[in-house]
């Protein structure tokens, strides 16, 4: 439902001078494309984000080695405050909070990345179809996207999860169903801009069919904004999954999960450590993805960046 007027990059009278290159935003973005990832990480935020993410990846990878205790074993006193043995305390069932937090990274991270990958693929394919073929195909796909947008994410996910039953798989399905439209919107708008751009028309004049030009000429130009959007969206997916778990509609116990740990913890205000640390974990990891995504977005040209920004929920 957003009104987006396809803006053409400004055309300025140009020279042969090489310094003029920086002045066209499209080019500036492209020039940086190949350097984008390393460059994005060179910005302070990007670096901090990458560092945090790296730490979390290592944690997830080596969780079994890092966790001092069995995350499922109810071996300790219940609700023990952080001390030398249980450095982050124990929960209501006497399980080590630190071990649970560490192991929970193993479910959260891959699940979030997986769900984002799926919805990015699903959304951008649909968006590309809508954007390229236009007319009623576009109408149908985008109206459905609008409909999904019109529903509050968490309520829709809640109903889906409640209907299918809690569980990681169902939470992923629920999030997938509600998160594809942002990709569809961005892709559609990018494809629509690209479709009427002169290089695509030039290709069509050289005898490319619509499908070939979509794949060969447009797709490469849409990938990077989608990557940026997806990076930012991993954070959102983690938050939504945590929200579902918080409402006991997500990961099935006893699998450790941050959202579920918070939900357990808020009923024990005095045992603040149960909820506080998992919240911090969610915060840091989402911040990491957002920092990286934001730095990546800065390397896009302004128009595309805005397109990405506008539709992010």
């Amino acid at each position: 439902m957003s009104i987006s007027s396809p803006k053409q990059p400004p055309t300025n009278p140009d020279s042969t001078g090489a310094e003029a290159l920086d002045r066209n935003p499209v080019d500036a973005g492209i020039k940086r494309w190949r350097l984008r990832f390393p460059k994005a990480l060179r910005s302070p935020l990007g670096f901090v984000g990458a560092a945090i993410l790296l730490i979390w990846l290592l944690v997830a990878l080596f969780a079994p080695l890092l966790a001092p205790f069995d995350p499922l074993a109810q071996n300790f006193g219940r609700l023990v405050a952080p001390d030398g043995q249980n450095i982050l305390g124990t929960d209501t069932l006497g399980r080590d909070v630190f071990s649970r937090i560490v192991v929970a990274a193993r479910t959260t991270l891959p699940a979030a990345v997986f769900v984002v990958l799926c919805s990015a693929v699903m959304g951008s394919v649909l968006g590309a179809i809508a954007g390229y073929f236009g007319r009623f195909v576009d109408e149908i796909i985008m109206r459905i996207a609008d409909l999904v947008f019109a529903f509050p994410t968490i309520i829709l996910a809640m109903v889906i999860a409640a209907a299918l039953g809690p569980g990681l798989k169902n939470a992923i399905i629920a999030i997938l169903l509600v998160s594809w439209p942002s990709y569809a919107r961005v892709t559609r708008s990018l494809v629509m801009t690209a479709r009427s751009s002169e290089y695509v028309i030039a290709g069509r004049l050289l005898g490319f069919s619509a499908g070939k030009s979509l794949l060969r000429e447009i797709a490469p130009n849409v990938v990077s904004p989608i990557v940026v959007l997806a990076t930012l969206d991993v954070g959102t997916a983690i938050l939504t999954m945590a929200g579902l778990s918080f409402l006991s509609l997500g990961v099935v116990p006893p699998t450790p999960d941050w959202g579920a740990m918070i939900s357990e913890g808020v009923s024990q205000f005095s045992a603040w450590w149960i909820a506080f640390f998992p919240g911090l974990c969610i915060l840091t990891i989402v911040v990491a993805f957002n920092f990286i995504g934001d730095s990546l977005r800065d390397t896009l040209d302004p128009h595309t960046a805005q397109e990405v920004g506008e539709t992010t929920k």
């Binding site: 009278p13 140009d14 020279s15 310094e19 003029a20």
Partner: protein, 264 residues
Amino acid sequence: MSVISIRDLNLTVTTGSAEKHILRDVSFDLEAGKITGVAGASGSGKTQTGLAIMGLSPDRSTLSGSIDFAGTELVGLPSKKHNRLRGRQLAMVFQDPSSAFHPMLSIGDQITDHLRHHRKVSKKEALRQAIRILGQTKVPHPEEAVSKYPHQFSGGQLQRIAFASAIICEPKVLIADEPTTALDVTVQAGILRLLRELCDDLNLAVLLVTHDFGVLSSVADTIVVMESGLVVETGDREPLITAPQHEYTRSLIESLPGAEVSPR
């Protein structure tokens, strides 16, 4: 007596870690009642020269040298003081008339807000003057025009309105940055005529930035040719065009179709 006298103007801009020298020792004068044209290929620093006079150089740039405006040194002038000159003494017209106006504000509002700000005149009085000025710049139906919005005008009309806005406070200096580049030839002629008239009638010192020697040949009194931030040649219109001294000027003019350059 020159209204503005630029001496050894240097401008450097820092982008990231790199420093870029945009203007190098630029010197020339603007005189009242005369149009000084600045020519040069794209990126040669024409626009930046104009902006330096207006005090609108890019952020994180350093300006050195001297711009003397009727006894006031503009280089290093505190921005508050510069702001008092802008619009009132120094006016500017931009290349693309359709983007130089805020699409959501009425024409009347946009050409009088600086008048009201500088002169503290009432809204009604300001509008009255606006209508007069629009008449002077030959905008059709000035009374209706003030309540219309930019998109309701053609490019040529908007450029006339931009001139009206520029002269409404009776400035001494007018900087016109490629005022006709975005316009059709037929419209261009009208705008050039308007520029000439305004310059003569109001005794304005005009700085006309353009890379079109046809335009300079029609209206400029003196011409300054720039190449990558350097002034390569300064001179009166006719000799400079017909018998350019500098190799760069010569190559520029010779590349134009229909140019009449005297052989060496």
